[in-house]
Symmetry: C2
Subunit: 142 residues, 2 copies
Amino acid sequence: MLTRIDHIGIACHDLDATVEFYRATYGFEVFHEEINEEQGVREAMLKINDTSDGGASYLQLLEPTREDSAVGKWLTKNGEGVHHIAFGTADVDGDAADIRGKGVRVLYDEPRTGSMGSRITFLHPKDCHGVLTELVTASQEH
Amino acid sequence: MLTRIDHIGIACHDLDATVEFYRATYGFEVFHEEINEEQGVREAMLKINDTSDGGASYLQLLEPTREDSAVGKWLTKNGEGVHHIAFGTADVDGDAADIRGKGVRVLYDEPRTGSMGSRITFLHPKDCHGVLTELVTASQEH
């Protein structure tokens, strides 16, 4: 069951400049930063609020580490902006299987590693009214 | 001060079909539905979680009521997808003035009426790394 907005994923050309924009404009601070080589991104998580399911909601700022990564190709086509949205669940495997059974394409056979040790998968935007949708189980939810 | 992700605004061609997609796929239910003639949208709010500032996070599904509305024009250009993101604050007037003072264009001189009696304004996406950004004070925050 999806119990929170886990994050909004925002693609940008320059992570440091975008982090500085969010800090200077709104006062949002970096909670965590990492490079995910599998996804081809350097990313910063800005924690915005805690959520009623014991988790939290973040902005995830994403700079591609290579042009041929999914985010790199998306940026070339669309320019900076909201790349995906993510819902949190305690059971990404069960929810992905359930949603696949409803005819929505799930992009990975098995969840992969996301931010801060989470386990993630994505749903095809064409099956979700144009929204690239991620499902996340945070590492502490295991 | 912005204290939560208030909502993610998603533009769609057919509100009823999109509401049904979110219900059937994820179990999300409609919390509120209204027509905002000023914004030129019919909209449904799906509540996802409560937030640590005493508010909540929603998906806001938006169908234009006329093609020449902001959302109508955006849909014609981009197709269905994430239209904007919104941060919650107890003081939309003060935060909008503060952010305007930092050189970010605020689209309204005074906040207007948003979902469920809230007061809202928008920041220019070109000043926000491509993200149309809304500030919201919920009606119960006054």
